[in-house]
Symmetry: C2
Subunit: 424 residues, 2 copies
Amino acid sequence: MTIEISNLSNSLTVITDPMASLESAALGVWVSTGSRNERPSEMGLSHMLEHMAFKGTTTRNARQIAEEIEAVGGYLNAYTSREQTAFHARILKDDVGLALDLIADILVNPTFLAEELERERQVVLQELGQARDTPDDIIFDHLQEAAYPNQPLGWAVLGEEATVRAFTPAALRDYSGRRYRAEAMTLVSSGAVDHRKIVTMAEEKFARLAVGPSEPTAPGRYIGGDFRLEEDLEQAHIVYAFPGVASKDPDFYLAQIHATILGGGMSSRLFQEAREKRGLCYSIYAFANNFQDTGFTGIYAGTGEREAGELSAVVAGEMEAMTAGIGDGELARAKAQLKSGLLMGLERPGTRAEQIAGQIFTLGHLQSVSEIVAQIDAVDADALRGYAARIMTAPTIAAMGPVKKLERHDIFAARFASGRQAAE
Amino acid sequence: MTIEISNLSNSLTVITDPMASLESAALGVWVSTGSRNERPSEMGLSHMLEHMAFKGTTTRNARQIAEEIEAVGGYLNAYTSREQTAFHARILKDDVGLALDLIADILVNPTFLAEELERERQVVLQELGQARDTPDDIIFDHLQEAAYPNQPLGWAVLGEEATVRAFTPAALRDYSGRRYRAEAMTLVSSGAVDHRKIVTMAEEKFARLAVGPSEPTAPGRYIGGDFRLEEDLEQAHIVYAFPGVASKDPDFYLAQIHATILGGGMSSRLFQEAREKRGLCYSIYAFANNFQDTGFTGIYAGTGEREAGELSAVVAGEMEAMTAGIGDGELARAKAQLKSGLLMGLERPGTRAEQIAGQIFTLGHLQSVSEIVAQIDAVDADALRGYAARIMTAPTIAAMGPVKKLERHDIFAARFASGRQAAE
């Protein structure tokens, strides 16, 4: 069972990834567009378009779309990120054709009716409210804006209440015309699927997609900054960020392993120091976020008002300690965690399809498991120390809740100015 | 590949569920104990014990436990519910023995050191704070307390700040001695596993578990009630509940199908009416919650301050409409959704192990897929109308956020008093 790739006559990429043991499949279309491709008046429009795709086509109304997929016990969903919009389904094997037909229909033939937009606008405003009521979620939007100020990459995917209130069907059509081109889409299916059948069907169903290149994406540049919102919450929700690497950077796995050792599991340095030794947090973890052309390494912690005063020194201390030396044991553990995560993900069709789409988007080609494993294995302690030192600069802090005791940004930043020098 | 069951000499049940195509496995121990088995001074102790299991044994300290599982890229976690406590791992196939050894060690040989308890207490207090900052999570604790007042089943799994502050190692040992008996535990593994090897190893590793029956669980009784907390949030987070069925009730799937038609997907009645037609909510869904001896059907909605005034009438209207008639299409869709969810879950070892443990806990024996499918298929529209009418009584409402405009409980309850009569 091997992965097959075809390019349709309109340039849409079709990839199938058959899994012999499965009776079900995951199928989706990943579109290379997201909130960073919006204009100022369009903040949140990528996400609104994702919602509106489900609200009716020239052949089906919203209720028919929902009923058809659920009639076969399938599940149709979508998400919007800063760089991608995905429409995906989980179905039993006999229903792959139906899922493909539905997804093609909502992408090729959406009607964007004014009346449906009015109703969906209310739903998205409720979604905005829900996000604001989830501090350990919305804090990442504040972080993004502080790290990437005055750039579309810094905008929230959901947009602003004011822009959402102003969207029109014409704005949806304009954005869709610019961004929903065949060339910008990848149709990926994993599981009980047949390449020839899917290509034949896709060639017909996607025939009327617009062709030609999408507008280029404006570059993103990590700047760093500070965001604080004193609020009446139980916890201070704090995210720190430092300049990292782009998703296509050769140091991608270096950054992943760095984040894993720093705060990727129960045995990681931050978990051991901040949670196990000091009891400061329930949740604390590090992560590497990567975009096409930029990225950052981040640390999230939820802590109490009093503990927030202690946290920044702990985080800075562990960041600094990473530049001093990496143990063989923790390096081997981080590699084992990334590799086993990769192998276990291979057993799930949804994860596989997602990874394939991500590789095409990022690299323009697929990577085999052995290529990825080789890249993970190639990371050594010296390279990690170098990466740890390199990112000791330009910190971003985003914090909300009882954050008065949290160290000032300039004082925190000064810790990194000296850390960086020592490492150079 | 068939499921095998053995009972160890100490009465611990061992179940293996081999999956030929997998290179990984899920393995866990499910213990028949949770917050409903606590005494008043023990509120939250089941959950604290779950945390403390990871904090050291007679042969490993907390860091060693974390490092050993992560050294093989494995993942060890645990959760506590009202009726069960689970300790489970995801590992590659060569590491099944290690996972079993670790889980046995933390269950059989925990040390509950005072010093570790002091630190973990702080972590759990942070977890309590995080839960309180997540209204669409904590509202379910308020619902549970309102639906089951003055009973352990109404208590929050995390406990109260006051009880958490008072826990001692002696209290942990006392609870553990009463509840962590071999007879109350089921060791389940799914994936790349071998029954004989696991039984042999479990016989040795679990040999020193306490034996004999656990205390009986006090019965739970759905009463119903009202909880409101006016708070400065963006959304009103509202859950309604009505008396439902126990997990072992012959009407279990009847209740599941009822909830699916009412609010189980995009084509469900509540989603179509409250979100698609009225734009009142982003999230609205119905569910059937089941315990050993009682249960409820619930509806969650997140909505705005103004919209909260309209919501109760919509919910009551859809509940009432379910008693009037069920369409063939929606009934077929609900069955398809439950069956395909079941089939897709079979492809994931973690889901399979969880389901097996649930069947043993609930029924004392396993159910085949075809038995479950037959029970789903047997549900008809008349039975659904009967169930819909039967639960039109004793509503519970739990609400937090801007809830001043939400209909009063007595007025809401009056809608159901008449609805019930009409149906009788």
